[in-house]
């Protein structure tokens, strides 16, 4: 087994599936010769050629719209949008077409495609390069929203996303693209979508997070363990549709829940999880459900981005607060 970064997990999933299925096509800005601005598609054009790894013009809407046409013809397009901040011209294509072609043709035309975008802050990038707006997509019926948080999950979930018969918005936490390596077998085996991953068992409190914030959430859990608080950590992984069963089951045991996400707080995916806990798990709760999140401001430029994103201390404080309810 090789040791990969999360970025390498993405890259190896591409290569594995492209060897297996000649219908898999990669398109986007700079994905070919340059291998993507983060190198997620590095080496793919050499191996699979310019017909399958396409450097497109700089035009996000037609890149996604074109993938819809390809998918309708039985190809399996994977689109890279360079940063989440540049996904918005393509939202029209995602919400008005990719997400609804199956429904509006009663299954005659479908859209098996993956729309990848690096997201989130923490790499000192310029303006518009650091936002987390996953809730926009989680709110759209007809698409899946998947966020990996480790090399193994990047590999296994991307394989699953490519093979899924419906469109998947696959958001990659770029802050942890190269942070740490993990042994992963290049087995071509997908991980399941629509399911959470329990990363740490615990009995006192359930910490729910996804993407890059998993890192601080796990660090907070380790720090809490030193003061006798045993936290369960859940990586939601598929933000839509939500696997509430895993979260409800955990909260039924712990009675407490803190949700951690980098995105702005109001109407974020955390709000949906909290609402579902209130509706379906209220009798288990010993304390209010708290959220540790970004703020309802524009993401500050990089000097203050660390203050915007949920840090370990903020998570620990929130857990201490819910532990105060007996």
């Amino acid at each position: 087994m090789a040791e990969w970064t999360l970025l390498e997990g993405v890259n190896r999933a591409f290569a594995s599936e492209m060897r297996r299925d000649a219908n898999v096509i990669v398109l986007g800005e700079d994905v070919g010769v340059n291998g993507g601005v983060f190198r997620a598609t590095d080496g793919l054009q050499d191996e699979f050629g310019i017909e399958r790894v396409i450097d497109t013009p700089l035009a996000e809407s037609v890149i996604v719209g074109m993938a819809i046409g390809m998918a309708a013809q039985g190809l399996r397009p994977i689109v890279e949008l360079q940063f989440m901040g540049f996904i918005y011209p393509a939202v029209d294509q995602i919400i008005n077409h990719a997400s609804r072609l199956r429904n509006r043709t009663r299954g005659r035309i479908t859209c098996p495609m993956v729309i990848r975008a690096p997201f989130g802050g923490g790499i000192h990038a310029p303006e518009h390069h650091s936002e987390s707006t996953e809730a926009l997509f989680a709110h759209m019926p007809g698409v899946r929203v998947v966020v990996p948080s480790s090399p193994a999950r990047a590999y296994g979930l991307l394989l699953a996303a490519i093979r899924d018969p419906d469109p998947v918005v696959f958001l990659e936490p770029k802050r942890v693209y190269r942070l740490g390596k993990q042994e992963v077998e290049d087995s071509g085996e997908a991980l399941p979508l629509d399911t959470c991953f329990v990363l740490r068992d615990g009995i006192d409190v359930t910490l729910v997070s996804w993407g890059a914030s998993i890192k601080e959430t796990l660090e907070a859990a380790a720090e809490l363990a030193r003061v006798g608080v045993d936290a369960e950590v859940i990586d939601v992984a598929t933000l839509s549709p939500l696997d509430m069963d895993t979260i409800l089951d955990s909260v039924a045991r712990t009675g407490r829940c803190v949700i951690v996400h980098e995105a702005a707080r109001s109407c974020g995916v955390g709000a949906e999880i909290a609402a579902r806990l209130a509706a379906e798990g209220i009798t288990s709760l010993l304390a209010p459900v708290l959220r540790v999140t970004g703020f309802d401001t524009v993401m500050p430029l990089y000097r203050y981005e660390d203050q915007y994103m949920p840090g370990v201390h903020r998570i620990v404080d929130a857990v201490q607060e819910v532990m105060g309810y007996r």
Binding site: I25, P57, A59, S61, V64, G65, Q73, R102, T110, P241
Partner: protein
């Protein structure tokens, strides 16, 4: 160099009186072929009126009239091969009829039932696109799939003149040019985008000029002249299929109807302009040409109209008799397999319906 220094000739075969200006295209040379083309236009005109009446009497929802657009649709459909792909907007009934879409399916869609876009006899053509110009992008992707598989097929996508102001239109013609994709972008320049006239959409001398910036071919054709439409579409499609040369076909017409049944064009459109346009509409000249050159009698014409009326009536009967969708079916096609949440929401909805009706 000024844009107006470049001239796009408008292809014409029939003048407004129905006089043939040049020899007929090879694919449209027999009387049968000429009548077949006429039939599609009459069928579309008659069906369109019937559909508007259905909306007016409350039996169908909002519907976009195709009046005056029949020659464009008929010419496109006539020139396309079965294995080409159509990515239409909502004024392409004539083409859709020729592509195997059933009249009752068109009624079913505008009558609020998604099964209308299922198309029993057409697997690949896209459903009509409502968000303006977005469909041009899909055509490009289909064109790419055709190129990738090295097939000799082409894609036709249609839009109105207003759509050419949108980014999706420019992004699509640009990428088609860069990649050499077999796509024909037909622009129905009917002068009005709801209430906004062409001169407020663009300062380009013609819409065909927009092809220049994308490095693709531009054609300009009288869209009220079905014969010219067949010739130009046939040329453009041949270039697309054989040489992967994409193009814009600007078809000049006039929207004789309102934008949709929810619109009232009297609010913004001069009556004299409409009256002048009526004299140029496609069916009058085509009938005159058939009468003068092909022995088409008033009896022939009446009998054709009677056939088309009977067809429209029969489609309406089929439309009326369609069973409603199974209860809660709108939950079932969001994903290949409904998610657990959707299953729950469907049950919740079914329970509510049972309880409250």
């Amino acid at each position: 160099m000024q844009a107006s220094d470049i001239h796009f000739e408008t292809t014409e075969f029939l003048d407004s009186s129905g006089k043939l200006l040049r020899p007929l295209p090879a694919m449209l040379s027999s009387r049968d072929q000429l009548v077949e083309l006429y039939r599609v236009m009459v069928q579309t005109r008659v069906f369109d009126r019937a559909a508007i009446n259905l909306q007016r009497t409350g039996e169908m929802g909002t519907y976009p009239s195709n009046e005056g657009q029949e020659a464009i649709g008929a010419g496109i459909g006539y020139a396309m091969q079965d294995d080409d792909v159509l990515v239409p907007y909502y004024r392409d009934i004539a083409t859709q009829i020729q592509r195997g879409v059933l009249l009752e399916e068109i009624l079913r869609y505008w009558g609020g039932d998604e099964w209308g876009m299922h198309f029993r006899h057409q697997a690949e053509d896209f459903p009509v696109s409502v968000p303006i110009a977005t469909q041009a992008c899909h055509a490009v992707g289909i064109g790419y799939a055709i190129r990738y598989r090295q097939q000799a097929r082409a894609v036709v996508t249609t839009c109105g003149d207003g759509a050419t102001s949108k980014g999706d239109f420019y992004e699509s013609i640009n990428i088609a040019g860069v990649m050499g994709l077999p796509v024909v972008f037909v622009v129905n320049n009917n002068r009005w985008a709801i209430s906004v006239p062409l001169e407020k959409q663009t300062a380009a001398p013609t819409i065909a000029h927009k092809a220049l910036a994308a490095g693709i071919d531009g054609y300009r054709v009288d869209g009220n002249d079905a014969v010219a439409m067949v010739q130009v579409m046939s040329d453009a499609l041949q270039q697309a299929r054989a040489h992967r040369r994409p193009s814009i076909v600007e078809a000049l017409s006039y929207r004789l109807g309102d934008h949709t049944t929810a619109d009232d064009a009297n609010r913004y459109r001069p009556r004299e302009e409409l009256e002048a346009a009526r004299a140029l509409e496609p069916l009058i000249r085509y009938k005159a040409y058939l009468q003068a050159g092909h022995d088409w009698s008033d009896d022939d014409d009446e009998s054709l109209y009677a056939d088309c009326v009977a067809e429209a009536r029969s489609a309406i009967e089929v439309y009326r008799a369609f069973p409603p969708q199974p209860a809660g079916e709108f939950f079932d096609y969001m994903y290949a397999r409904p998610t657990a949440d959707l299953e729950k929401q469907k049950q919740e909805w079914l329970t509510q319906v049972k309880r409250h009706g």
